[in-house]
């Protein structure tokens, strides 16, 4: 009984939930107006794109990989859509091409990583520069805007009181959650993260799964890029600049081990929530952008230290 209690307590999810509750308690003391639904809903608008990318990123980190190129894939996809639109193609076609481009970018990452056995950090570091460079090259760094209303509504309209992007996120989350927890593929992902040689020797299609995950990551980034473009009505080569660090921070705060094999999607969601609320509140309350950087940096370190301590406690008792 005590062991189960301790085990639950030491789960990163529990710890994060406590942290989030504390944060909300603190907020309600300092500035209750922040907690109004209206405020929360409206502030949530720019977390969804990050959240969508965080799902494949969680799976990739679970396989002991990493994808630094997500921001650049966003940029490349946004520019693809933008340039095609500018060239006179219809918007659905442009969106389709953007999704295809992102998916292809992710596939190339996966291909290099799985087939050539190069460390994901290295490959995606290289493609990070390449993809954004291509986006800058073909767009000559010029922004494209003036998208048709039917398209921008995707980014700005709400459905059942939540932004469209939120629904996209929920749909992806639920389907991936089902696959990870109810299909063999889920365990395969964890096995690869723990020992890819042993997984390979057990007949798991390690290569195919890795290629699949990176491709999925590319697709999700492209989707996020389209939502972003729709929301901001602009496609530019700097779309998604630096988003990879935000995504990785959320995933890692969510208790996913950077060495692979340990962590959950729920943890990632809690991590996203914690980061988002902290960031928005610091900015809401203190009006000092530089504080956000310090708070987020420390939050990342402190929460991982605590998770580590809790796990240690559980193991030794």
């Amino acid at each position: 009984m005590k062991a189960i209690f301790l085990r639950t307590l030491s789960l990163p999810e529990t710890f994060l939930s406590c942290l989030i509750i504390t944060l909300f308690a603190l907020i309600s003391q300092l500035d209750p107006s922040f907690l109004q639904w209206e405020v929360q809903r409206s502030l949530s608008s720019h977390i969804w794109e990050l959240a969508i990318i965080a799902i494949p990123m969680t799976l990739i980190i679970l396989t002991a990989g990493i994808d630094l190129s997500v921001g650049s894939i966003m940029s490349l996809s946004a520019i693809t859509a933008g340039m095609l639109f500018q060239a006179g193609s219809s918007m659905p076609l442009a969106c389709g091409a953007a999704l295809l481009t992102g998916t292809l970018g992710g596939f190339l990452n996966g291909f290099f990583i799985a087939r050539m056995r190069v460390h994901p950090l290295i490959i995606t570091l290289a493609t990070m520069a390449t993809y954004r460079g291509i986006a800058e090259g073909i767009s000559q760094a010029k922004p494209v805007s003036g998208f048709p209303a039917g398209f921008t509504r995707l980014g700005q309209d709400e459905w059942l009181n939540l932004p469209f992007a939120a629904w996209v996120f929920f749909i992806i989350f639920v389907s991936v959650f089902w696959v990870i927890h109810r299909r063999a593929l889920g365990l395969h992902v964890y096995a690869i993260g723990n020992n890819d040689t042993a997984s390979r020797f057990s007949g798991i299609h390690v290569d195919r799964i890795l290629i699949g995950l990176y491709t999925f990551s590319g697709f999700a980034s492209a989707l996020a890029a389209l939502l972003f473009v729709a929301r901001r009505n602009t496609a530019k080569a700097d779309v998604g600049m630096g988003i990879e660090l935000g995504v990785i921070t959320a995933v890692v705060i969510g208790g996913v081990s950077i060495f692979g094999g340990r962590g959950t999607l729920v943890g990632t969601c809690l991590g996203l929530l914690l980061i988002h609320e902290t960031r928005e509140f610091v900015s809401w309350h203190w009006n000092r952008d530089e504080f956000i950087l310090i708070v987020l940096g420390l939050l990342l370190i402190v929460s991982v230290v605590f998770q580590k301590l809790l796990r240690h406690k559980q193991n030794s008792s």
Binding site: G186, Y190, N194, N195, T197, A198, F201, S202, G203, G261
Partner: protein, 504 residues
Amino acid sequence: MPSLTTQNLSKSYGGTHALKNVSLKIHAGDIHALCGENGAGKSTLIKILSGVETPDQGLVQWNGNHLSLGKVHEMESKGIVAVHQEPVVFPDLNIVDNLYAGRELSSGMGTWLNTASMKQRTRDILDSLGEDLPLNQPVGEMALAQRQMVSIARALFNQCRILILDEPTASLTTRESDALFKTVISLKNQGVGILYVSHRLEEVFQLAQCISVLRDGILVSTQSSNDLSEDALIQQMVGRKVAYPSRQQPVNADITKNKPVLELKALSRTPAYDDIHLKIHAGEILGMSGLVGAGRSEIARAIFGIDEFDTGEILFNGKKLQNHSIRKAIDLGIAMVPEDRQRQGLALPLSVETNLLLPSLNAFQGMTGLDRSQMRSMSGQLISKLGIKTGSPDNPASALSGGNQQKIVLGKWIHQNPSLFILDEPTRGVDVGAKSEVHRMIIELAKQGSAVLLISSELPEILSLSDRILVIAKGHVSGELAREEANQEKLLKLSLPEEAKQSP
């Protein structure tokens, strides 16, 4: 006479008591063997003695002085050094750096290394072990046995007073083992005390003056080896009698008339192996013997679709395999137990159950998802069938002892009824009881009609199980012996590279 004594050492991991009140005395100039089943606590005791782990309770004394525990340096400075069960090497470093890591020869207050003298001494040590290894090659590129030799050399080279060897011969062939025994005996004659752990009982009787037995973390007995028979020892270790299974029936004439399950035709990959021909029939156990690095594992890897080969062909049930891959091999009914269980066999942090069911997870997948209860019952069956010692199927595989881990690697294939089973050193580090279980399982598999390719460096194992034995030397087939004509001498003779050149 100086001695190392332990008093009431206890250590538990979570709920498991790995050691309970163990009091042991090791004399200088003695070879003291430590026996016990897998998971009995031998490695735990050794980890404590070498300062890697701190006991929950108990003392360790050296010549009557208390030692502070939990510090490797402290122990090494007293001359107590250990060779651990899994070879402990730095894969990216060369042999010299491996041997000297942590105790480099330097001058000027550690600001200037004496590279030349380190090289010279390394060469001396290797010579004394009869090894001729390249000094500049990263150790990670060497075969498992060579890595094992490096970690033994590392221990030897200390001016040690007590040398602890945890299953040092588990991945060595006879030649290396013999060189090691010579060294061990000469050290003993120089007054070094040796604690020797091994599951190969013939070695234990050959070397040790004194034998202690651990069972479930408790020290059962310490006796002189002269007073002990092998059967009695086994009985103490296991708590029951163990019968050695072996294939009693002569080669079944029918077997070779069966269609061959696997046939290799002129399989080559430079420089690992060249022009390999072999046939395995359903129900047959084909032994593959040879020295370390002869290329046996490489052949096995090619059959299982891990590596590609240069020329030649693999026929499975008469059909040529094209675009071979591991998954294809598994789907055809080929299974393989790899030689390095930690690197190739197990996802250590994952549960015993997941590891056992890893190759067959797709089979438990229904419309609604994975059938957890069916998985649980299957893993339960396997655990009891193989006698895997674990508190629960949910425990991580890393918490099991070496032998029990090996059983998992075997177990994940057994329920799939493979038509060809490749076993690469299947009983490395497995205790006598479990080993006889594994042997029985292999025979059982063959009886049910599976073809078995058994690679083993342990000659008795090969001799007692195989129907036919193929000897590999330097990547060539140097001979094939039928069961009746095979014996240790012949196998050894064929294994030596000189013979390989002369044979047609």
